[in-house]
């Protein structure tokens, strides 16, 4: 087994009295696309700054390519950062911006220009070489920032909310391009975002962060289908959450008492344990077709989303229990209807935190 490209060991960080990272460990494989996903204040940007060398962690160590980089300055480590505001040098042409890193390495002007053109071609901006940053659109600036960071061939590229400043349509388009560029150059990308759709679309490895801790990490499919914690079940996509207590356990099956009634599902917990059951909207069935009945509920809102309808309903048994379901666009359900709600036992996610 090869050593991981990046190895973060038990990193904690404090700003004054506030602890923003709590004992975080993370390993990143070469050539992977890693997404750090979390709400603002979750510590994801601080973690990226620690990787980039802009912040020294209060505790813990950072290894890159097996070398201790914990207090190596940004210039001396094999990482480059793409800043959220792109940080293009406004007084230099696009070509000079992209060539800046090579210039600092003492590369001669001709080679520099050639490599800069190559990098610009990679991001599809070959014609912008002589322009100034202010003549470019937001998406184009983003690409220049990417080319500038890639041209010096870093081992790890760090992206701080790179699509945050773009409008939605452009964001989705740039997202596809980012993925394509990453596949082409093969550099490991670490990308910070709070947009879960972006995370699902881009990541090979998705790291969900909250309150200075890693809540969950793994392939996005797994994180979505089987979130490890209640936080990742609600942050990475929506869920209906049923609070409950284990009342019985035998033969690998537990019975959980919830506001929607008793539910049997596979598990090995002791009676008395507090659990939460999460059900993804696409798994919630409006009607009694599912194997597990969840009682009746009154539809409080139906939002048409184009390809489907998002249905919100309030349980008749417990008004504090809100169901979120995804119904086909053709469904005739309306606000005020009372419907039966059910689901399949396999689709219930058991959360123990």
């Amino acid at each position: 087994m090869t050593a991981p490209l990046v190895d973060i060991r038990a990193v904690s960080h404090r700003f004054g009295q506030q602890t923003v990272l709590k004992n975080v460990s993370l390993q990143i494989e070469p050539g992977s696309y890693t997404i750090l996903l979390g709400p603002s204040g979750s510590g994801k940007t601080t973690l990226l700054s620690i990787l980039g060398g802009f912040v020294s962690p209060s505790q813990g160590m950072v290894f890159i390519r097996g070398e201790d980089c914990t207090s190596v300055p940004p210039a001396k480590r094999p990482t480059t950062t793409v800043f959220q505001d792109y940080a293009l040098f406004p007084h230099m042409s696009v070509g000079a911006n992209v060539g800046f890193g090579l210039r600092m390495q003492g590369v001669d002007a001709a080679t520099r220009a050639a490599k800069a053109r190559e990098a610009l071609a990679l991001v599809g901006l070959a014609s912008a070489f002589d322009k100034k940053p202010h003549q470019l659109s937001g998406g184009q600036r983003q690409r220049v920032a990417l080319a500038r960071a890639l041209v010096i061939e870093p081992a790890v590229l760090l992206l701080d909310e790179p699509l945050g400043a773009l409008d939605l349509k452009l964001r989705r388009q740039m997202q596809d391009e980012l993925k394509a560029i990453q596949k082409r150059v093969g550099t490991a990308f670490i990308h910070v975002t709070h947009d879960q759709e972006e995370a699902m679309a881009l990541a090979d490895h998705c790291v969900v962060m909250n309150d200075g801790r890693i809540e969950d990490e793994g392939p996005p499919e797994r994180v979505y289908a089987r979130p490890a914690t209640r936080f990742s079940a609600t942050f990475m996509g929506e869920s209906t959450i049923l609070q409950g207590n284990v009342t019985e356990a035998k033969n690998g099956t537990i019975s959980v008492a919830t506001p929607a009634g008793a539910i049997m599902l596979p598990g090995t917990l002791q009676p008395g344990a507090k659990v939460a059951l999460a059900i993804r909207p696409e798994h919630l069935v409006l009607g009694a077709a599912g194997g597990v009945a969840l009682g009746r509920a009154e539809v409080s809102d139906v939002v048409f989303q184009g390809s489907f309808k998002r249905v919100l309903a309030i349980s008749a048994k417990d008004p504090a229990l809100h169901f979120i379901a995804k119904a086909p666009a053709s469904a005739t359900v309306q606000t005020g209807d009372t419907v039966a709600v059910s689901c399949n036992a396999d689709d219930i996610i058991l959360l123990t935190d």
Binding site: S49, F54, V55, S56, S71, V72, P73, P74
Partner: protein, 281 residues
């Protein structure tokens, strides 16, 4: 966010020390020297509070402070009252493309030398100057009026300067206001007058306060304008300070008077601090 990987602690201090050193050596130290000097006797140099007690005991001295405060208050008030409508007209009534030019014209006389500006008013207000010639020439008055060497002349000279300054700051303030405020007020049924009174004026008030404070500080410490235009009939504080140095070489008394003047400005600052902070936030 603290930058971790900067090159130690030496560089940042090397950057800020020259400026701090300069300020300490040529601003703080002189001030301390002045404070020390103000506590010594002019003759002999022994410790004394006489320089301060003299200020309160001698009516000629504290009258200068009263005069200074009166003139400054009048100047500040008139300047704001004149400049606000003017800035409003420039910002609201003048077409957008001419605004820059109109504003540049309005502050053009800024660029005459400061000493010359007061002298120019003397030309206008002198016994046989432009205004008196016009008044006697038109037969309105048979005798020329005493305009120069009066408080009126000092106030005129000051107002001329501060109207320009305040026009600049208030204009900038009015232009910063998002037009949607006015649209929103109009949309909610406020007429132009009520929009102005309830929306525009309160929102520009912090800017006015800053401008008025600036006027106060610059006006109360100015020597040239009262000396050239007001003459020696009625002394203001800066004239009194300069007189101690010029005629009598009495540095201790001049120091004490300067410190009293500064104390007044500082109290004004503290009184205004609340409004000035609003501006910064």
């Amino acid at each position: 966010m603290n930058s971790a990987a900067n090159s130690g602690r030496a560089l940042p201090w090397a950057l800020v020390t020259p400026a701090l050193g300069w300020t300490l050596l040529f601003f703080v130290l002189p001030f301390l020297a002045m404070g020390f000097s103000s506590l010594t006797a002019h003759e002999g140099g022994s410790f004394t509070l006489a320089n301060y007690s003299q200020f309160f005991a001698n009516p000629a001295y504290w009258h200068a402070m009263v005069n200074s405060l009166e003139v400054t208050a009048i100047v500040t008030l008139i300047s704001v009252l004149l400049a606000y409508p003017f800035a409003w007209i420039l910002a609201e009534q003048v077409p957008e493309r001419w605004q820059r030019l109109a504003l540049m014209l309005a502050v053009l006389p800024f660029w005459t030398s400061y000493v010359v500006r007061s002298y120019s008013w003397l030309l206008v207000l002198a016994q046989n100057g432009v205004i008196n010639r016009a008044l006697t020439g038109s037969g309105l008055f048979s005798e020329p009026l005493q305009l120069a060497n009066t408080r009126l002349a000092t106030v005129t000279g000051f107002v001329h300067f501060f109207v320009m300054l305040l026009t600049l700051t208030i204009f900038a303030n009015l232009k910063q206001l998002s037009p949607s405020y006015r649209k929103a007020a109009a949309d909610l049924g406020a007429g132009p007058v009520r929009t102005f009174l309830h929306v525009v004026l309160p929102l520009t008030l912090p800017g006015i306060m800053v401008g008025a404070f600036l006027t106060f500080v610059l006006c109360i410490g100015d020597y040239i304008t009262p000396q050239i235009l007001g003459g020696n009939n009625e002394l203001l504080m800066p004239q009194l300070v300069m007189m101690q140095i010029g005629r009598r070489g009495d540095f201790p008394l001049a120091s004490a008077l300067s410190i009293i003047l500064m104390a007044v400005v500082t109290s004004a600052y503290l009184a205004c601090a609340r409004w000035l902070k609003i501006e910064r936030a």
